[in-house]
């Protein structure tokens, strides 16, 4: 019992310096996974200071400027869009105006053409009517002249016949009754 106990004590005594020396070794040569409270504290200090500093002096102003720029670009785009819409509206108006003008012109031309056509027809009609009238008049006057000539001729013929017959029978025929007789005869001739 005593021997093992003393052995244990000895072992512990022997182990202690060994342990201490290995600890010293470890302290001199830091291991890869040893946590280091000082370094952790420094990390927190440096990180927090850096975050406050960067936020105040760098990220804040930079992001603000960027958002300002974004706003400016957005405004410019909106303005451009507005201008474009305006231009499109103007173009549409212009186009409509041109279209209207063209339609009007077309209408005027068509109207002019129709008027000319109508006028021509009217003139033609008038000319034709006039012509017909003139022909008609001519016919009438010819007819009248003819009738007059016939009447003249007839009277002349009656006179001649009467004179001839008077000479032939040596006496003066009763003018009115003979004339009537002859004229009746002539009329019966003319009637044939």
């Amino acid at each position: 019992m005593r021997a093992p106990l003393s052995a244990l004590v000895l072992l512990a005594a022997a182990a202690t310096p060994a342990l201490a020396s290995s600890e010293a070794e470890a302290a001199a040569k830091p291991g890869l996974l040893d946590p280091h409270l000082g370094l952790m504290t420094w990390t927190i200090i440096v990180f927090v200071l850096l975050m406050i500093g960067l936020k105040t002096f760098a990220f804040g102003p930079i992001l603000e400027a960027v958002s300002g720029r974004e706003q400016a670009i957005r405004d410019a785009i909106a303005a451009a869009e507005r201008d474009r819409a305006e231009a499109a509206k103007l173009i549409a108006e212009q186009k409509a105006a041109i279209e209207a003008a063209r339609g009007e012109a077309q209408r005027y031309i068509a109207e002019g053409r129709a008027t000319a056509e109508q006028m021509r027809n009217e003139l033609l009609e008038q000319a034709r009517k006039q012509q017909a009238e003139m022909i008609d008049n001519a016919h009438k006057s010819i007819e009248a002249e003819k009738a007059k000539a016939i009447a003249e001729l007839r009277r002349e013929a009656v006179d001649l016949a009467l004179a001839g017959a008077g000479k032939l029978i040596g006496q003066k025929l009763d003018a009115a009754a003979d004339r009537q007789l002859v004229e009746q005869y002539l009329t019966s001739l003319g009637g044939k």
């Binding site: 409270l37 760098a58 990220f59 720029r69």
Partner: protein, 315 residues
Amino acid sequence: MTLRSLVATLALLVLAASPAHAAGTGSACHVPEAGHEGKVDIITPHITNGDHVEIPYWKFPFFLECTLPKWQPIHVGPLEIDLSPTKHVVMLWIGAALLFLVMLLVRRAHARAVTRGGVPTGGANAIEAMILYIRNEVILPNVGHHGEGFVPYLLTAFFMILTLNLLGLVPFGSTATGNISVTATLAILTFLTVEIAGIRANGVGYLNTIFYWNNELPAPMRPLMFLIMSPVEMIGKLTKPFALAIRLFANMTAGHIVVLALMGLIFEFGNLISGAPLVMATLIMVLELFVAFLQAFIFTLLSSVFIGQIREAHH
């Protein structure tokens, strides 16, 4: 405070924080002693934290080792916090100062462009494009409506992680985001942001994201499902930041290990063929450049998604 004086103050701050200043004040910087016999572990010191930084030096071996000052640890309750600067703390300072300076310059270029009524050109425009992309395509769609309040946190997380990732690729630099303490802290900050967002969006309904109580189940099933599902909900809650921390840490560490291992091949073989690893290491370095952006992006994207999820939880 005008911007010019602010920039000047910042430049002074960077100088004060840089190890070069330390070199001037004390004898903290020295040429590293050469002549290690046998094989030396070059990878572990590179990827782990340390109490010294390396700065460029004009003579062989072209760098100085500067031992950083040791401060008395402070006590907060039962915790003993050693705030003395370490390699990664210095990288945090440099990264933050650099990022702040760059952002101020961007902002100034921006202000100038705006007064001119135009858009900034060149680098300022590139940074602006990144800010806008992260805000409009990553943060706002994922966080959901009225997500503007989360933009500063997530943008800062993105740019800080990106800067620290990239600083790890610079000669004499070290990857602070390859340290589990840094990534865990960032993940804890995201966790807190997510939970606070959940409380603000859901009110008492926030408890539903911790305890599972489904009123659509038949009554006797409810306590049973409560007992089964509640631990799942809680584990799910904690897994997300855990995955965030491990993902960033592992990605940043792995690339450096690969590059250093390829470099190690040169010393291992030491003949003409050993030029080949140089090509591979260069290509891995290019990949690392991509990964630096990718991991910053992923961290931001997932944080946004988590915030969005918990804000939508009551639907």
